[in-house]
Symmetry: C2
Subunit: 332 residues, 2 copies
């Protein structure tokens, strides 16, 4: 297909808006654009490539004529509209977690498993943002030797909770400076000057849903069904870009020098690793671009086949919108 | 000894000021107080138990008559004055890292190894703040079964860099809201809305000095010379209280239930662990008090003898000042 009629479901959210931006940035061959959102937004317009495009209410009959729907909505919305998107004959590239672990739905990071996208039956799932940020780096090492175990602790930006998360951090800080009380809404507790060690509900043996995604989605994307992951996901007062501290054990030892060479050569990664000169990935440096920065590469002192890494990437772009558009590019 | 003539070296810094507060709070039997600081502060006074006490310039001859000196200064100051403190006949309880790994200097967390303090030859070292926050929890488990390995990622408050660190975060945020540029001084990079994955200079195989303290000091305090630790230390935009994500492997398996019981019964710890009800340790809740909060206790999914923990504690109090005063109490 040379050009596509593209729908964006959830076009007014943080990820939806970024998808529009990235479709334009990457010159995706958009024949027509249909931004879909709730009834509240329908009727207003959204700017795309210099034109004001009317927002259409997301309804069961709103998908006819589309070739591609990029999904940037919550699970319930994705589940509700998926059959109608399929009926309309469009491919649904969905950023929700609703379909990610379904056997007949490919879960794709284009730098890692683009071939999986070919098996799709109408839906291709976009992985969790923290999982993408971590795996783009880890996959480069897994190609050399399979990952047996991974321990990860995340430092996740408030924009993981969308526009509301970003607004809340800013408003909370401003209220604090005025000496005013502020009641958190997007997060369960104040996030300004705090960190919150829970993202998502408790799901399995005390791990949260967000923490289990790293193992469950990671196994599927890397084709390593035995990989074991212990993850701790933590919200930090950063506006944009997730960071992850990773310790992994490979089947065969990979030296630090070799790991650096693999990361430097890996698509989607940038090696940013020179502690002597204070050079390492940081969220402020990785925001608003698509590469995953990887640094602090060290031998794991607890294992003879282990490596420590520090990964950092813009989770709204590569962790969500860019990855979805890259998947769509595989369909062209 | 029933009452002591007490000197505080570095009395005007964040830790020094907290030491004065805690001496008063804990009713330490202070016969006389001598706050010692640089020539710049000498001559002014500092308030202690309702009285204005003159600050004395820290000089080689400034320690006579003292029984105890609490050290809250940098390594170079501690190294310079230690011989003179000894000459004056005072015991030096030092918070710098200068003496911590010296064989004839006990390194003490009173909840863990109070007996070591008795072997002192004039100097007792106070451990690193992140090490204290982590070990108070970990020691409770190590008593049940020795720790073989530990993977830790820290979320360290700006006050770890003293009063200047706290001022910098606040000023940087305020400058940002006014749209003004701000040149970082206390940290190498902006810390507002950012995280910085380096604390201390690079020291060993790409690990920083702060990261190696967890292994080197941990081995000495826990009397586990073989314990292996892989640590990643990260500065986060929190004013006070360090948090640490820990995955440890014990020689024999400890169940989650048993771990919870051990933490609940451990001196200096508070079990704060009920993810279903969104209850876990957070820096805002642990600031300005002495307990280490421990939660998110889970089986490590990468090992059959592993546990995940999330620890959080006020690193200026229990991580520095309170621990030092507790050591001094062992000398009474």
């Amino acid at each position: 297909m040379k050009e596509m009629n593209v729908g964006v479901l959830g076009a007014t959210g943080a990820v939806g808006q970024e998808m529009l931006k990235i479709l334009a940035e990457r010159d995706f061959p958009v024949k027509s654009l249909r931004p879909l959102a709730s009834a509240r937004s329908a009727g207003s317009t959204i700017r795309f490539q210099g034109e004001e495009v009317p927002i259409v209410e997301a309804r069961e009959d709103a998908f006819s004529g589309l070739d591609l729907v990029l999904g940037a909505a919550e699970n319930d919305i994705a589940l509700r509209f998926a059959p109608h998107i399929r009926e309309a004959g469009a491919v649904f590239v969905d950023n929700s977690s609703a379909f990610r672990l379904q056997e007949d739905v490919p879960l794709v990071i284009p730098e890692i498993n683009p071939q999986d996208a070919r098996q799709h039956k109408g839906i291709i799932a976009n992985p969790n943002c923290t999982t993408i940020v971590t795996l783009v780096a880890v996959a480069a090492l897994a190609k050399e030797s399979p990952i047996e175990t991974m321990v990860a602790s995340s430092y996740q930006a408030v924009s993981g909770a969308g526009v509301a998360g970003m607004r809340e951090l800013t408003e909370e800080i401003e209220a604090g400076l005025r000496g005013q009380a502020y009641a958190p809404k997007a997060f369960a507790y104040p996030i300004a000057y705090n960190v919150i060690p829970q993202i998502g509900p408790a799901q399995f043996m005390g791990y949260t849903s967000e923490e289990m995604k790293m193992q469950n989605e990671g196994r599927k994307i890397l084709h390593l069904p035995e990989m074991k992951v212990s993850c701790t996901c933590v919200r930090v007062p950063v506006l944009r870009s997730h960071s992850v501290s990773v310790v992994l054990r490979t089947r065969e030892r990979i030296s630090v020098e070799r790991a650096r060479a693999l990361i430097a050569a890996a698509p989607g990664c940038k090696l940013v690793d020179d502690i002597q000169n204070r050079i390492y990935p940081m969220p402020l440096d990785t925001s608003d671009q698509d590469l995953i920065f990887v640094g602090r590469i060290r031998e794991d002192l607890t294992s003879d086949r282990g490596l420590n890494l520090w990964c950092c990437g813009d989770q709204i772009r590569k962790g969500a919108a860019t990855n979805a558009v890259q998947i769509a590019e595989l369909l062209l």
